[in-house]
Structure formats: structure tokens, C-alpha cells
Amino acid sequence: MTTVKHDIELPSNIPELLLEKHANYLISYGTNKDEYNYSQTEHMRMSGMYWGLTALDLMGKLEQTNKEEVLEFIKQCQSDSGGISASMQHDPHLLYTLSAIQILCMYDALNVINVDKIVNYVKERQQADGSFAGDQWGEVDVRFSFCAVATLSLLNRLDAIDVEKAVQFVLKCMNFDGGFGSKPGSESHAGLIYCCTGLLSITGHLHLIDADRLGWWLCERQLPSGGLNGRPEKLPDVCYSWWVLSALTILGRLHWIDKKALIDYILTCQDVESGGFSDRPGDMVDPFHTLFGLTALSLLDKNFSLKPINPTYCMPEYIIDRLGLKPSRLDA
């Protein structure tokens, strides 16, 4: 293989998957609420909780979490407008609305919030061109389109928005490489490709994707180290293992990457002392990369002791089954 400028070298020793340590890391994260890292991430608390709880559920440890405390917190984060905020007194936003709904679905506890008001909040975010603004301040991004569609489909209320128009907007974000950017004109990026592929999977519009072209671009994200980057000429990062793999799985082309090499890369990104995963070997761990390290491993190999993950919703498959949802995929 020719030299690649942006990559890293893996050590020769690849650690085992340290499930016990990861569970302990996530459970203790947030027990000390005065901790610096914890207070510094208050503005994304709801998503942080979703990352941690989903990871714990995949490891079969959801019972060890404080369900009542979480439900009470979510209840308090629903604003009069119906939307849900990252944390108490922060402002509602589609990003945190989706995270909250994902958690509630995991706990099978949608009844603790006012669902009709959520539906209304999401519906009001849709713009004339089909796009979604994240909140009342008008920032538009396909991430928010995904949040809106995923939220409503989890609530079985997709009929509340103009789905065709939402799809049309996503198509405007398609690029020469078959990928998607955050808005029309924006460069393709694996995270946004996940959002768009996910949205088209939920709404049954995967035929609009040129799967061979996009699949090739996605499998080209794999670097000699085995890790995946999110755009050409960028460094590998564990979270892209998820964005790229989930999209490839939805497109029925997961086999286009080298699974063994990627598994080795992800395992190397574990902190063998504290537990948790980081973006690259030797960096600081966080719940975000811990979740996406585990979800990627769940997609890659059934032999890890992890529950299967649904590639569209990034939630354990058994919950998607329980909800009776069938997001489409190109491999069956």
C-alpha cells in the first residue's frame, strides 16, 4: 500500500474488549456531579445520557442505572414549547429531543412526557423547503432533519410532517461523490451521510442513493491502520467507525471494509486502565466515543458479548423490534 499521510500506527499488542471496565467507567461518569468534565458538558447532557445508557444497555447493564432519576430529569427538560433541552433551564432543541425520546424508548417510558407537545414542537421546526431548523433560531442542517424524522418515527407520528419534502431537501444535499453534506452545497461527511442514509432508511427512500458510489466512498474511509476517517485525507477516529459502518450496513455493503483490521483499531482505542474509548489510541476517553466504539463492534462481530445494534436508530435492536419499527435496508 502506498503511504498515507494522515494515519497512525497501531501497537503490536491489541487488548481484549474490556466490557467490565467500560461499564464501570460509564456508571461512575456523572456520579460526581461537581466534577469538571461533567459540568463542562452540561449543555449536551441529554445526549451524554443517551450515549452512556445505550452503551450500558448493549453491555446488558441497563438495570444498574437509575431509571427514576433519569425519567425525572427528562420530564423537567421538556419546555412549554414541547421540545426537550440538553439540561434543566437550557433551551429545547431537536438534538436533545431525539436523545430524550431514544432514552424513553429504551426505558419503555414514553408516558412520562407529553408526546403530543413533542410532535407539535418537531412539526413546527419544518421549513418551507422541507428542511428542519434545530430550534426557533433557524439554524438548518440535515442533522436536524434526521432528528425530526427519527423522533417522530419512534413516536409513530411521522404523518405530522411533510415527509416527501423532507426527503427532497436531503436530496439537495447530495454531492458528486454520492455522499451528503449538512446543507445544499456542503461537502460530504460520514456523520451527515449517516443522518441522510438513516432518514432515507426510515422513510423508505433508499432507492434515491447511488449505493455503489456512496458505498465505495465510505469503504475508502478505511486507512492502513484499520481505523476509519470521516472525510478524505483526515485522521482515523473511533466515532467514524459508527457513522461509516451504520451507513454501509444500511446500504448492504458492510463487507466492503476489512472487519478484522477495524476491530483491532477500535480495541486499541480502549483506555485499559480507566475503561472507555477515545477517538485515537492514547487520547482521553469520553462517553461519546465509548458508545460508538461499542456499537461498531456490535455491527462487526456477533461474538462480542454485546446486544445487536440497529444501524438506523443507533439503539439496541430489541427496542426497535419492540416498537414494531422496520427501517429499510438494502441487504434483504
Binding site: P232, E233, W256
Partner: protein
């Protein structure tokens, strides 16, 4: 959360850090409490601006604080001068925040919001700020997006932006963002409805040369190679008719393009009169590349029809009556091999890239481009060379060997179709295809199989691709022996199937076999020889002749 190296520190350093952080936590909690209290009390004062500013300078991602600042802006009565100054100050604040955190969504959005509030926005200044920012990080997509926002608002012309993209690319070929931007602007200015190339011919040739220059300058940078693939391997979105066969009792229509952006509108005309048709869509309602209509009441006027047309989207296709087929048919055999207006240029480039491959035998990109060029010039002529390149690619780029296997399958299928068509009479539609022993892994171009009746896929590796056989709706004899098949769960229902060979696979589940038989009412003969499941099956079930041990029948 990205790129923060975990550093080992001494106990003493750890202690100092801990104290500093504890102080920061206390400060944060006090500040945010004050901010929320003031907001609750609707006190939109300077102190609120001051505290939120301080907090945002240390963490610019706290989106609610930006919301609160906007509320302060909106909830006070300002003189024009004051408001102007306020907005100017906000511009400096966002600029300072971006120095620290150039990828903060909230900051970039605040900047857009402020610009929209200004009565006399200085777009030029913003463009030069973008230039500065892109000089520091050419790949910052937030900055590119902001630049796009400015370009739209300031009404900057496509021509200027085309110039900008040229300068950017000539300055540094190794910048994927610039190539992306160029594809957008070129398409906007010179996009074409031609099926083979994305932009008008003259520009197309120029771009091919530009990209060759780039790939030779730095053959290991991936950016330009992706752009080149766009030029050489266009995504076909225009809906066009590929083949059709219309008989009294049944009609088959196949549509050929990569993706179907627009909903398909398809109608059948006999003697200029539209026929009332219920199309069944395959593989499913959305991927409707194969459409079949079964007429309960036969089309009696078809035999003596003067004209038969198919209208697909806005285009009308004239069918011809074929004595051989006793049917009205349509064929477009050119779709797998179109004429290029620039074959000379393509051949020149092929020569150059072959040389590059010789000089740098480990460069996969030159080999891949070689394949794309050869396919574009003449798949049949270069068939062996293409397969050679693919073999080399799987070796030097082994991470993606399965991708190359699937690409090989696709090209093999297309090559074999071309071979069949060569022998096919003008008025004939060949019903037999033999693709046995080719190590095929996928049939991504499965719509091409829609009209075959006898399909031999023995000795391939299609165990994970059974769902792709759903377009074999006309097939009566299918052979899938020796494909390593372990399960029939994803095997589609093929209405016409009569003879089906599954010899020498790894089938174990008798339920699946019974289900298969139940789904296929016309199935007469099912060969399961050399499958573990044979032991579990009765030799005669339902009305199907099951072959479960070696026999001479075929």
C-alpha cells in the same frame, strides 16, 4: 472530545490541576445561575451580556447562552448607533470564539444571525475572513458553509466563484474541499442532461486534463482521484427505457439508470390509445426498475396493431413487432457501451496512467483509473486488462478486496451481456444466460436479468446475494448449484420458476424448503442433491419432484 492526548502527570501537577478545575466549576455554576435568574426576571442588562460573553469565551458551545444574547438584543430599545455597535461587538466576540474553537456550530450560526441583522453588512470583509480561516485550515467545512452563505447573500457570480475554485485548486491540488466546491460550481454553470458526462463536452475535456495534472503531481493524495471518478463514471439519474416485451397476456418493461430520482410514470399505447395497465414493480415499489403487467383480459388488438409505444416520463419509445418473439419489443443495446466524443483524449490518458502504474506499482489509484478509462473506451476490447488490474488491486489494496470482488462481478455481468447481444438477432430477445463458474459475489445490476428465462449461476459465491435475484421474474429454469448457500430466507418469490437446482450447497433447514415450495406454485423440479437438508426431507412432497440424491436428471 477530539484529539486530546492523555498525559501522565505527577501527583503535584494533578493536585494543582484539580484545584484550578474546582475553581472553574464553582465559577461556572455561579455564572450560569445568575444568567438563568436574570433571564427569568427579564433583566436584559449589560451584566447579562458581560457574563455570557465571559462564559462563551471559555466554552463557546453552550448554545443557550447565544440564544440569551439574542434575546438581550431583541428585548431592549436601542438607538441605531447602539445597535450597530452591539452587532459589531458580537462580530468580534464570535471571531474570538472561532480562534479557539473554529468548529463550533453555535458560533458560526451566531455570526450568520448577526450578519442578517445588519443594515449595511460588509460582505467583502466576511469573504476575506473566510479566506484567512481557510488558509489556517483548508478543510474546515463550517467555514466553507459560511462562505457559501456569504456568496448567496452578497450575490457573488458563478464566474467569480469558478475563478476562486481554480485558484484554490492550482494553489493546492491536495484539498478535497476545493474539488468538492468545484464540482458544485461546474455543475451549476455547465451541467448537462447528456447521459454520459456530467458537464458540457468542452469543459469536460479541460477538467480531465486538470485532474490528470493533479494526480500526477501527487499520486498519493486521494482528493483528485475522487473528482476524477465523478468525471469518468457518472451517476445516471435520467430515466430511460432499456428493454420491453409486450405480449397479449403480459408486458415486461426494464428501466435503466443508477437511481430513480423522480417517481416513474409509465404508460403503454396501442394505436395511440393508452392501455389501462396495473404495473407490478420489482424488486419493490421503490426500486421499480422492472415493471410487469399481467393482463387478465388479453390485449386482443395487439396482433393487428399499427403502432405500439411506451411513454416513460416525458419520452416516447416506439416498439417493433418481432416475428421471432411473437411480441412487440424494444431494445437499447447501446447502454453498456456508449460512444465517447473524446476517445482520443481518453486513450492518451490511459497510456499515461499505465505508465504511472509502471513507475509506481503500488499506487492503487492509477490502476483503478485505468479500469474506469478502459471501461469507458471499450469494455469488450480491454476485458482481460481490466480483470488483471482488478486482481492487482485486491492484492495491493487488500482492505477493500471485497469491494473489488463486487466490482468485478458487475463488470463480468456487463461483459457477458455484451457477448450475448453480439450474437442476438435484431428482432430477438435472448432468453438464456450462462454465468456459471465466474466467482460472482453480487448482482448489483440485477435489473438486466429481468427478461431471461433460463439462468445458470452455478459455481459462484452468491450465498449472501439471493435477495438480488428478485428481478428474475421471467425465469423458469434457475441453477444455483455450488454457491455456498446456507439459507433460503432471503430467496425471493419467482412466479415462473419451474426447474430449480440448488445442488451442492449447505442448506440445512427443511422449513425453508417447504416454504420455498409453497411460495412457488409452478415449481416442478427442485434439485437438492448434496445438501445436509436432504436427510430430513421426504422424497415426494406436495407436487414437486424433489431430487435429494444423485440422479441423472437435470
Amino acid at each position: 472530545m477530539h484529539g486530546r492526548v492523555k498525559v501522565r502527570t505527577t501527583a503535584e501537577q494533578e493536585e494543582i490541576k484539580k484545584r484550578e478545575r474546582a475553581a472553574k466549576v464553582v465559577q461556572y455554576k455561579a455564572d450560569i445561575a445568575t444568567v438563568f435568574q436574570k433571564r427569568k426576571d427579564k433583566i436584559w442588562d449589560d451584566e447579562l451580556l458581560l457574563i455570557t460573553k465571559r462564559m462563551l469565551l471559555s466554552n463557546s458551545d453552550i448554545y443557550t447562552l447565544w440564544n440569551i444574547r439574542r434575546e438581550v438584543f431583541q428585548n431592549n430599545k436601542w438607538t441605531d448607533e447602539e445597535y450597530k455597535q452591539l452587532l459589531e461587538n458580537e462580530m468580534s466576540l464570535t471571531e474570538n470564539c472561532l480562534k479557539d474553537n473554529p468548529k463550533s456550530y453555535s458560533v458560526w450560526h451566531q455570526r450568520c444571525w448577526v450578519m442578517e441583522q445588519m443594515s449595511e453588512p460588509d460582505w467583502k470583509r466576511e469573504l476575506s475572513l473566510c479566506a484567512k480561516c481557510l488558509n489556517i485550515d483548508e478543510r474546515n467545512f463550517h467555514c466553507w458553509d459560511y462562505r457559501e452563505f456569504i456568496v448567496q447573500k452578497a450575490g457573488i457570480s458563478n464566474e467569480e466563484e469558478f475563478e476562486f475554485s481554480t485558484t484554490k485548486i492550482l494553489n493546492n491540488f491536495s484539498n478535497y474541499s476545493s474539488w468538492h466546491y468545484r464540482s458544485r460550481i461546474l455543475y451549476k454553470m455547465f451541467g448537462t442532461t447528456l447521459e454520459e458526462i456530467p458537464i458540457i463536452d468542452e469543459k469536460y475535456r479541460e477538467e480531465l486534463d486538470l485532474v490528470m495534472n493533479a494526480t500526477f503531481t501527487d499520486p498519493n493524495d486521494t482528493s483528485a482521484w475522487f473528482y476524477q471518478r465523478w468525471l469518468l463514471d457518472k451517476c445516471m439519474t435520467t430515466c430511460r427505457l432499456w428493454r420491453a416485451i409486450i405480449k397479449k397476456d403480459i408486458a415486461y418493461v426494464i428501466i435503466d439508470n443508477n437511481i430513480l430520482i423522480e417517481p416513474v410514470s409509465l404508460s403503454l399505447y396501442i394505436n395511440s390509445e393508452v392501455v389501462d395497465v396495473q404495473w407490478q414493480l420489482y424488486p419493490d415499489e421503490k426500486f421499480a426498475k422492472l415493471q410487469i403487467a399481467r393482463f387478465v383480459k388479453p390485449l386482443e388488438n395487439l396482433d393487428h396493431a399499427k403502432e405500439v409505444f411506451i411513454k416513460l416520463q416525458e419520452t416516447t419509445y416506439k416498439l417493433s413487432y418481432s416475428e421471432i418473439e411473437s411480441a412487440w419489443i424494444y431494445k437499447d443495446n447501446s447502454s453498456l457501451h456508449r460512444q465517447n466524443s473524446n476517445d482520443e483524449q481518453l486513450n492518451e490518458q490511459l497510456k499515461s496512467y499505465n505508465q504511472l502504474s509502471k513507475m509506481e506499482p503500488n499506487n492503487k489509484w492509477a490502476l483503478l483509473t485505468g479500469i474506469l478509462l478502459m471501461k469507458k473506451i471499450d469494455l469488450k476490447k480491454f476485458y482481460t486488462d481490466i480483470l488483471n488490474n482488478l486482481m492487482l488491486l485486491s492484492k495491493i489494496d487488500s482492505l477493500r478486496k471485497n469491494y473489488y470482488k463486487d466490482l468485478r462481478s458487475k463488470l463480468l455481468v456487463e461483459y457477458n451481456l455484451l457477448e450475448i447481444w453480439k450474437k442476438e438477432n435484431d428482432m430477438e430477445i435472448q432468453i438464456r444466460i450462462d454465468l456459471s463458474g465466474l466467482d460472482l459475489t453480487k448482482l448489483h445490476n440485477n435489473h438486466y436479468f429481468g427478461l431471461f428465462e433460463i439462468v445458470n449461476l452455478d459455481a459462484n459465491q452468491l450465498e449472501n446475494s439471493l435477495h438480488q435475484l428478485s428481478t428474475l421474474q421471467r425465469c423458469t429454469r434457475l441453477s444455483l448449484s455450488s454457491n455456498g448457500i446456507t439459507s433460503l430466507k432471503n430467496f425471493p418469490t419467482l412466479h415462473n420458476l419451474e426447474f430449480f437446482s440448488l445442488r451442492n450447497n449447505k442448506l440445512t433447514n427443511s422449513e425453508e424448503i417447504l416454504n420455498l415450495i409453497k411460495r412457488h406454485k409452478n415449481l416442478k423440479n427442485l434439485d437438492l442433491t448434496d445438501n445436509p437438508v436432504c436427510e430430513k426431507l421426504e422424497p415426494q412432497i406436495l407436487n414437486v419432484h424433489l431430487i435429494t440424491n444423485l440422479s441423472l436428471e437435470s
